[in-house]
């Protein structure tokens, strides 16, 4: 391979395959000649991540790969410092270095990440890296929780509007009754699916823990005639939701409250939480369980919709540091710490993993078309890190690393139940 080719493959052009054409190419200085120690490190890295079918390309253009024919993508390491960082803590530094452009990917980014995730999931050598992971965690006390949520959700409503569904700004997994549905249709289908599971009836009272921009709360009030109190500690989201409801005819039926879920009081027929418990930390599940036990009526139903895992584990350290401080998707066993201390009875659990991959596909397409605008609002590393986060999340769902659980529950003594779940599938609306 000629030197000119090497240079092209390692930096600028590789990026241009992911980015819009007018994206400026990034050139990084070479970092000394590649030596035997560098190659040995790369082989160790490949071993640690279970020998996925990807190639590594070093700053001099040299490739290290298992099998030329079957490599699905190439990860370019553009300088020696980055190699060392990747070796020390690949989970954290891959994100850091990709964001800064010190590491790049030639080929499809999703395919690359999916390949690596599948390989890591099968590998037994990778768990030692959790040692590093554990030091980068953000707790979720009352004050920290606000800071953590502010970090992510208060980036700016305009930013999220660029790529979320226009109808109800749902920043959670949609429900594709048909995979050809539009994102808008699938988000509405998701809300109907949740409302049907909860058996909402006009006049019932609902409390929502973690209401985002308020889309579900106003949908439930509008479509099912319930009264909703919706909690959230993201200031910008709550302001947005309050503003929306002020201009609607639902203001007497929906109340948005800027407060922590731990401060929920009152009694409600329904408890619902969509995409919140990933953020609260497993060590606070007993608090959430107490809140539910205190607020749910005798025949009340509840639903928790959350990203999850097949077994306990930590969120990718980079995502936890840069994107979602304090977040940790639970395994079902860990989720049971919410319900079991209070004998809450699980009625139904559904895994919508591939629906989240499809949702992310839609978000990514929209993000790509708005990339330039977002880069003007923020900067290039911000755009690259969000692009990686969205692509990495899609890969986490396609590779089976992450799950999406909807858990429906009620009080243990409630016998007022549907005989089957057929009513969930009668029609696409209620």
């Amino acid at each position: 391979m000629e030197k000119s080719q090497r240079h092209v493959m390692c930096s600028g052009d590789s990026l241009s395959r992911q980015l819009p054409e007018n994206e400026t190419k990034i050139n990084f200085p070479l970092n000394g000649a590649v030596n035997e120690f560098d190659r040995w490190l790369i082989r160790k890295l490949l071993a640690a991540i279970g020998y996925p079918n990807i190639a590594f390309q070093l700053w001099n253009g040299e490739k290290v790969e298992l099998d030329k024919e079957s490599s699905t993508a190439t990860i370019c390491i553009n300088n020696r410092t980055s190699l060392f960082r990747l070796i020390i803590d690949p989970r954290y530094y891959f994100g850091e270095l990709y964001s800064s452009g010190d590491v790049d990917v030639i080929g499809d980014l999703h395919t690359c990440l999916d390949t690596v995730y599948r390989s890591i999931n099968k590998s037994r050598n990778y768990s030692f890296l959790d040692v590093f992971n554990k030091y980068r965690r953000h707790a979720n006390s009352f004050i920290n929780a606000r800071q953590n949520i502010h970090h992510h959700y208060d980036i700016g409503n305009v930013f999220y509007k660029q790529w979320l569904d226009s109808a109800s700004m749902q920043y959670t997994c949609a429900y594709f009754e048909d995979p050809a549905m539009s994102l808008e249709q699938a988000q509405i289908a998701k809300m109907h699916h949740i409302c049907r599971k909860l058996e909402l009836k006009p006049g019932q009272t609902v409390v929502e823990a973690g209401c985002g921009w308020g889309g579900l709360a106003s949908f439930m009030a509008q479509e099912y005639g319930v009264k909703v109190k919706a909690y959230n500690i993201s200031h910008k989201q709550i302001c947005y939701a309050q503003e929306q409801i002020r201009h609607s005819d639902l203001s007497d039926r929906v109340e948005y409250i800027e407060d922590d879920y731990r401060n929920i009081t009152g009694n409600y027929d329904v408890f619902v939480s969509v995409g919140m418990i990933e953020h609260i930390g497993i060590e606070y599940y007993h608090c959430l369980g107490k809140v539910i036990d205190n607020c749910l009526t005798d025949k009340g139903h509840g639903l928790i919709h959350s990203i999850g895992r097949n077994k306990p584990g930590l969120l990718n350290a980079w995502i936890e540091e840069r994107i979602f401080p304090g977040a940790c998707p639970p395994s079902l066993g860990q989720m049971m710490e919410i319900f079991e201390p209070h004998s809450l009875s699980i009625l139904d659990i559904e895994n919508l993993r591939l629906h989240y991959a499809k949702t992310l596909e839609h978000w990514i397409k929209r993000f790509e078309t708005k990339r330039e605008f977002i880069q003007i609002m923020y900067d290039k590393p911000f755009v690259r890190s969000w692009y990686l986060y969205l692509m990495g999340s899609k890969a986490a769902f396609t590779s089976g690393t992450m799950q999406l659980f909807q858990v429906l529950f009620t009080r243990s003594q409630n016998n007022d139940l549907h005989w089957t779940r057929e009513h969930l599938y009668h029609s696409q609306t209620h």
Copy 2:
């Protein structure tokens, strides 16, 4: 209340309300005059079980109750020794004393047990009694497991034939798509429901852990064209199943193997286990997980159908001693010990609690009509203990003390999945 009445209410007649009319009345000697200490003990017992709306009637006819108007039933304690035993360990001795006739119930037995279960579930005073419970447990090593299963399932096929469904001898929860279905219809619906969840396709290989009398295995082969290897350690059940298959045209597609689930070898597209894991003990879930991980193909599906609980707890000590040695229904959190160590991915969990109450209702009706015949085969304490066990089980499901979980799972990387669960509800047959 007159003495003659008292005598009648405490022993013979109370029984006659539960038993066929020609049942012999049991007379027990009174056991000395009731004193203040006896009454104090009864009040302590009522407190320990959370003051349910039931009355206690002592051997002299004296009643102790909270509220005359609302008592749902009366528990007669026919002698002082029985009172002492009930105080020491009510969970265990209620069954023992009911079987022998030293304790009896006036009124509907199910209502009485349901009332007590609901009260215990709300009470915080009852858990100290687990101290006694823990000493009466049967482990499930290879040898013990055979003895434990022999104790229950080898009572005699003729006995179970008296009250199980005639079509396929299913001794597990049926699925009442419509609560008006017959037991036979609901057991067939249950098998279809399981097969649809497992997405059985002709030519697939299935392994069944704990196959009972072989009903599901032959049904899957007959209706869905799969090849089944079915394991069971109950000698009488396996002999029955082998005999049935010998006279059918399925003998090349169904193999019944008298062996422990821990000895399952080979690779299968489908793993299924209906009503077995309640018996194997939670400490052996890691073994079951390993068996599944070793035998399931890359795109394989599995289903575990099991009695469960809303939170960890021991089986009633009397049932564990007399009916189901070694049995312990798990909470969902405990069940996850099967799946999480192997990253098996939970796709769907359904709670069919009220279906088991309905199934038991059918079994009890049939048991009642065959009561005399069964008593000739065995004896009166046997009949009384089985009647109590069936009634107690129904109450455990109606009161929310026990659950019935169907857990569907697959390998974490399997993306060959249905988008929704609608296909489960298309028709009553496949």
